[in-house]
């Protein structure tokens, strides 16, 4: 099981802040994860529609979409940040 956490409009569109899911072995990168989640329902498909704007963090550190997710305890998906 992998813990997924969502923030801002990704959280709102998916309809939850976090969940634990089993990922198929074919999901090897952050990009693979986005494409897998989009098959899970309309909410996910809507939240992750524009894949290139979704930011990914693994174990609370920013990663690129093609970075491997092997060993991730916590994967976060969120929009571009707007703090400060």
């Amino acid at each position: 099981m992998t813990k997924l956490v969502y923030f801002a409009w990704v959280r709102e569109r998916i309809g939850k802040g976090e969940e634990e899911i089993d990922l198929p072995a074919s999901v090897k990168t952050g990009g693979d994860l986005l494409r897998h989640l989009k098959t899970l329902g309309d909410d996910y498909a809507h939240a992750l529609e524009h894949e290139n704007v979704i930011r990914i963090a693994i174990n609370q550190e920013h990663v690129e979409h093609d970075d491997p997710i092997a060993g991730a305890r916590e994967i976060a998906l969120f929009p571009p940040m707007t703090g400060g």
Binding site: F7, W9, A57, Q60, H62, M81, T82, G83
Partner: protein, 154 residues
Amino acid sequence: MAGDAPVIVRVQTDDFDAAAETARLTGDGDAGAIVTFTGLCRDEGGMLAALELEHYPGMAEAEITRICREAVARFSLLGIAAIHRVGKIAPGENIVLVIATAPHRHAAFDGASFVMDYLKTSAPFWKKEHFADGRTGGWVDAKESDDRAREKWA
């Protein structure tokens, strides 16, 4: 200098006190320059009732700390503080505070500016607008100008 420079990082719902945080950073007599940046919630011509600030607990603090340490090393700062508020924030209220201390002014200016430019684009915070007419606006869009501001330090 970089090794033992104080780094103060907090994410909190309460307001902050720039004078009190400055006093915590200074005191050893080496500092010749203090630059303080305060970011406030604008009222957008009276349209805005509040901003709602969401963050990724844990990662937000870790990311700001990483940015602050990089600023200390890069500009030989004597100290750095970065405090970011979350929750609902009304127009005119404080959102973020950055304080950089250094022997000379250009390092202090660069340190505070660097931390803000990276914080804007790398620290996991998101703003949502609530309007005065009762409507909940959307999430604030990230600005390309913020990405460009960060790139100038690369």
